[in-house]
Each structure stands twice: as structure tokens, then as C-alpha cells.
């Protein structure tokens, strides 16, 4: 956490997003501080992806308040956001480099800068030498690395990672987390969703959510202490129980 932690990168208060009669977000309060890695933890259907998509400007909140980097989510602030989708969203026919160049230019980088940033991003994710390989010939892990490179090629201030390590082997998972930390040390705020609990422990702070609401938020150690257990997994269950019974998180 090299950056100042006083500002808020994302601020959600009473955030509601309904799909028909289902409220995927049901009055969520959450602040992501500038410069931190915040892990959003919850089971499937807890509202993690809905929250990330709202921050990315893809979903309009039904009610409540949401600011991203001090602005309402949308095209204006989108320049400063990198969004790594759950499954690798890439152009299968295009080589790795063309994918990166495309997203760099989509975010408004001039050609020369896009080229140098692409080269730099490929170094970061250790894909140099694979520039000319079409995505469809890449392994699942390399796709995910390319996916990350596409999300960060334009140098975003805020990186949204939606379950970035699903289906990734343990070795590559550790490597991806090294990249996340490296990017964070370079000043990028990271919001990462996961239901892999040991990943949560790598975050500066963890927000536990269930059914579109906040259960508890704090540093991993704080949560473990508060729940009086040894793993985030157990902490989640204990704190959710406590929350459901009306206790304070």
C-alpha cells in the first residue's frame, strides 16, 4: 500500500440493483480505499459480479448511491478502470499482441503509446515470445494472463478482477497474485471478487457479503479475531450467522 489511503476509490451506500423481483444488491454499503486490494468474498449469487458490473458502468443501480473515483460510473470514468472479466474475453482469432493493442487503443491511447504499453504489459505477465500466437492456440492459463494484460494495458487507476483465478492451477494462481500485488504496489487500487478463501487472506481488507448485503469488512486478521476462528471460511460462516441474528458485524 504505497499510495495514500485517505481517498475512496469506490463508495457505495445503500446500493440496490434489482433484476425483476430478485434484488442482487440489497442495500450494500462498501468503501474501497484508494491504493488497497479489497477482496469481495461471498458465495455464488451473493452479488459480487453485480457489484463489479455496476462499478464498471454496465449496470445502472436501481437505488442507492455509487461513486467511482469520485464520479458516477460511466464512460467518463471508464478510462481509469480496468475490468478483467470472469472468463477470458478476448478475440480468439487475433494474436495476443493485437488483442492488447486493440484494448489499449479503445481506451484512447495513441498508437505509439499503445505499442509500448502493450510490450510492457506482456513483460509483466511474462508472455513475451507469445505476441504472435492467436488466442485460440493458448492454454487456459495463458488466456487468463492475456486477459489480465488486456485489463491493465492502459494503466488504470482501478482494477476490477472478477474471480480472476477460477479454473487456474495453483502455480499460476500464485503467479497471478504476484502480478496483482506488483500492480498494486505501482499504485493501482484493486477490487477482486473470489470465493477461494485463501485468496482473501492476500487482500489488505476483505468484505464479506451475502444476499446483496454487507456482513463484515476488515483486514483478514481482524475478521478472524472478531469471529474467533482460524480461517476466513469459518469466519464467513460465523459472521454471517451473527449478522442474520441481528448482531453487529
Amino acid at each position: 500500500m504505497s499510495q495514500a489511503m485517505n481517498g475512496a476509490a469506490i463508495e457505495a451506500t445503500g446500493l440496490v440493483r434489482a433484476f425483476g423481483r430478485v434484488r442482487a444488491l440489497d442495500g450494500l454499503d462498501l468503501t474501497v480505499r484508494a491504493g488497497e486490494i479489497l477482496g469481495l468474498v461471498g458465495p455464488n449469487g451473493a452479488g459480487k459480479t453485480t457489484f463489479i458490473r455496476s462499478v464498471a458502468g454496465l449496470l445502472r443501480p436501481t437505488a442507492g448511491h455509487l461513486t467511482v473515483l469520485g464520479e458516477a460510473p460511466g464512460r467518463r470514468v471508464a478510462v481509469h478502470i480496468g475490468y478483467m472479466t470472469q472468463s477470458a474475453a478476448l478475440y480468439e482469432d487475433l494474436p495476443v499482441r493485437d488483442n492488447l493493442m486493440f484494448f489499449a487503443q479503445l481506451f484512447g491511447l495513441p498508437r505509439d503509446e499503445a505499442r509500448s504499453r502493450t510490450a510492457a504489459a506482456l513483460v509483466v505477465v511474462e508472455l513475451t515470445g507469445k505476441e504472435r500466437v492467436p488466442i485460440r492456440h493458448l492454454s487456459g492459463g495463458m488466456r487468463q494472463l492475456t486477459n489480465l494484460a488486456c485489463a491493465m494495458v492502459h494503466g488504470p487507476k482501478l482494477l476490477l478482477l472478477d474471480e480472476p483465478t477460477v479454473g487456474i492451477d495453483p502455480v499460476l494462481r500464485l503467479k497471478l497474485w504476484d502480478h496483482f500485488r506488483e500492480l498494486n504496489e505501482g499504485g493501482t487500487t484493486i477490487l477482486v471478487t473470489t470465493h477461494v478463501m485463501d485468496e482473501a487472506e492476500r487482500c489488505h481488507r476483505v468484505a464479506l457479503i451475502a444476499a446483496g448485503r454487507m456482513i463484515a469488512v476488515g483486514a483478514p486478521q481482524e475478521l478472524l479475531r472478531a469471529a474467533g476462528v482460524g480461517t476466513i471460511e469459518e469466519a464467513y460462516l460465523v459472521l454471517r450467522e451473527r449478522h442474520a441474528n441481528g448482531g453487529t458485524p
Partner: protein
């Protein structure tokens, strides 16, 4: 080999169909619709007669048996022909104007001295004015005239002894284009517009579907790019590609097949470009209603068959039941076919096809609007 395994596979396929009602509907409905259309369009009953202007200037001649007018006889024969709707016209000039405006398929001009000359044994040729760009329009008119003259010879020969086959002939007068052109000359514009439409629609809808299913559309929408920028990017990319295809077809038609292109090649490309703006957006809009490539393919007959059958590509629009005729005016291929034939076969200019261009433009603007609305669903 175990029967139960084979049965399990067969039953699974049938079960899958049950969960895909759209495919089933398409398999059942499309052949019926197509057969109904073809049955209607090929069969005579129910078809509207083709409007034809007849100018009868023939003064006739007084014979011992009484006053004879071959002109009146021919006009009456045309009138009796169920395929034509004859409208009398006062002068050749007025009738020609009706042909030019497209109000009638052709104009038959019966000269003033027709009966006199024929009785005197002199050969007479009767002018049939046609546009010369659409064989579906000029063919029936010329055919009906040939029939009328042949019948005249029969009845007249029976009525008056010594009056053999009158030395009558038909002289087609194409205002543009021609009547002796090869079928390919007439059909090249159709092939051009059909391929441009079909391939662009297929490419756009499939590639947009992939954009959606691969998640890259999500990424595009989370970027600073606006919906309009995305649409314009798509337009430019696909139209560039489709124009290259159009040039290839045109080049092959001109140099290899020796097809006539009387008008400006730029005007041909303009017609195609305007058409394709609409097609790209139609493809984008419809791709939102498809979950996979197979479903996109299912849209093809829905989009193409009515246009091909009712748009004047095969049978002239003018002979269709009026509600179908009005419907055909909503189809872009109707207008692009007429416009391309006018330019390529008839050598017409920008001003002559401006109305058709406007219709195509209206289609394209409507489709762009639908495309923007469809994209809005992606960012809500």
C-alpha cells in the same frame, strides 16, 4: 450393438428439439410459407394484371362489309388478355411518360394507317415501348402482343377470304437498356444486391454474436467507447469488407461474364453502401435474439425469403396482390434491385434513382436506431 443405446441417442435428440421450440417452429413453418408463396407467385389465379397503356391511333378502313379497324381489334384482344390491365392513352408521348414513370409495364402504339397499310399488303410494325430494364415487365407485354396478332390473323383469315396473315410485326422500343440483352445482364444487379445483403447480414450477426458470447462486448461497453462509436466502427469495418466483395463481383461480371454496366460504377457502389448500412445494423439487432450461431442461421430464411420472393427479384412486384405489393416496399432488396437495374442495365443517373436511394436510406436510418437500442440492452 445395443438397441437401447441407439434409442437413448435418438430420444435425446428428440428431447432436445422439445426444448428448442424455435427450431421446431422454423422447420415446420418455413417450408409451408415458402410453398404458399411460390404457389401463389407461379400460379395464375390471384395474380394482379400488369398495367399496360394502349394508344390506338388507327383510323381504320371502309370495306364492302363495313368499317374495319385492326387497331380496335388488337386493343380488344389485349383487353381480353387476363394478364394485362389495359389503360387507353391519347398519345404515344403520354403513354411513353407512363412507362418512364413506372406506372405501366409497357405502351402499345397502334399507328394511324395500320388498317390501310395492312389491307394494301404493306408490312407494318407496331411499337411496344418498354423500360428495357426488367424482363419480368416487358416479357408479358410483348408476349401478349404476339398472341393478339396471331389471333387476329386467325379470326381475320376466317372472316374475310383472301385476307391472309397480315404482315404485322412488333418492334420493341426500350427507353433504356434493351430487350435483347442476355438474362445475365438483367440478373447481375440481383446477384450483386443479394450477395451483398446475405453475406453482410451473416457476417455481422455471427461476429456480433461472438462479441457477445465471448464477453468482449462486455469489455467494449465497460470502455470509454460510446454505443455510436461501436456501431460506427462495425459499420466501417463491415462495409469496407462488403464493398471489396461488391467490387470483386462487379469486376468478374464485367470482364469475365461480359455483363453490361451502362451507368456509373460509383452510383452502383453508393446503392450498395446505403443498403449495407441498414444490413449491418439489422445483423447486430437480430444477433441479440440469438443464443448461438445456429439460431443466427435460422434468421436467414426469415429475413431473406420474403424479400427474394416479394421484392421483385424473381417475379415483378407490379403483378402482386396489392397488400403484398405495399409490403414489398418495406424491403430494402426491392429498392436496391430496381435501383441497381436502373443504373447497370438502363444507365440511369443519380436523379432517376433518388427516390429508391431515399427509401434505402430510410431503411438504414431505422436500422441504425434499432441497433443503438439493441446495444442499450447491453449497458443498463
Amino acid at each position: 450393438m445395443r438397441l437401447s443405446r441407439i434409442a437413448a441417442i435418438a430420444l435425446r435428440i428428440l428431447r432436445q428439439f422439445r426444448h428448442d421450440p424455435r427450431t421446431v417452429a422454423l422447420i415446420m413453418i418455413v417450408p409451408l410459407v415458402v410453398m404458399a408463396l411460390i404457389g401463389y407467385l407461379i400460379g395464375d389465379p390471384g395474380k394482379e394484371p400488369l398495367p399496360v397503356a394502349v394508344v390506338n391511333l388507327d383510323a381504320g378502313a371502309d370495306m364492302p362489309s363495313g368499317h374495319v379497324s385492326l387497331g380496335a381489334a388488337i386493343a380488344a384482344a389485349l383487353d381480353r388478355n387476363g394478364q394485362l390491365a389495359v389503360e387507353p392513352s391519347a398519345s404515344a408521348q403520354a403513354a411513353t411518360e407512363r412507362v418512364r414513370s413506372g406506372a405501366v409495364a409497357g405502351a402499345v402504339v397502334l399507328p394511324a394507317d395500320l388498317t390501310q397499310e395492312v389491307l394494301g399488303g404493306a408490312p407494318v410494325s407496331i411499337d411496344v415501348v418498354v423500360m428495357g430494364t426488367n424482363p419480368g415487365l416487358q416479357g408479358p407485354v410483348i408476349g401478349a402482343m404476339q398472341e393478339a396478332i396471331a389471333n387476329l390473323a386467325k379470326t381475320a383469315g376466317a372472316a374475310a377470304a383472301g385476307f391472309k396473315a397480315p404482315p404485322l410485326s412488333i418492334r420493341p422500343v426500350p427507353l433504356e437498356g434493351g430487350v435483347g440483352l442476355s438474362p445475365l445482364d438483367y440478373d447481375a444487379p440481383i446477384l450483386l444486391t443479394f450477395f451483398a445483403f446475405f453475406l453482410t447480414f451473416l457476417l455481422t450477426s455471427v461476429s456480433f454474436l461472438r462479441e457477445r458470447s465471448s464477453g468482449t462486448l462486455e469489455r467494449l461497453m465497460a470502455s470509454p467507447a460510446s454505443r455510436l462509436e461501436v456501431l460506427l466502427g462495425y459499420l466501417l469495418g463491415f462495409i469496407g469488407f462488403a464493398m471489396a466483395q461488391a467490387l470483386l463481383i462487379l469486376g468478374y461480371a464485367t470482364w469475365v461474364l461480359d455483363v453490361r454496366i451502362a451507368g456509373s460504377i460509383w452510383l452502383v457502389l453508393l446503392v450498395i453502401a446505403i443498403l449495407l448500412i441498414g444490413v449491418v445494423n439489422l445483423g447486430i439487432a437480430l444477433s441479440f435474439y440469438a443464443r448461438n450461431e445456429l439460431q443466427v442461421v435460422q434468421f436467414i430464411p426469415l429475413v431473406l425469403i420474403p424479400q427474394v420472393f416479394l421484392g421483385g427479384l424473381i417475379w415483378p412486384v407490379q403483378t402482386m396482390w396489392p397488400p403484398l405489393r405495399w409490403l414489398s416496399q418495406l424491403f430494402p432488396l426491392t429498392h436496391s434491385t430496381v435501383a441497381l437495374r436502373a443504373v447497370m442495365v438502363g444507365g440511369e443517373g443519380f436523379g432517376d434513382i433518388a427516390g429508391r436511394l431515399l427509401a434505402l436510406l430510410a431503411f438504414s436510418v431505422a436500422m441504425v436506431a434499432i441497433g443503438v437500442v439493441a446495444l442499450r440492452k447491453q449497458r443498463a
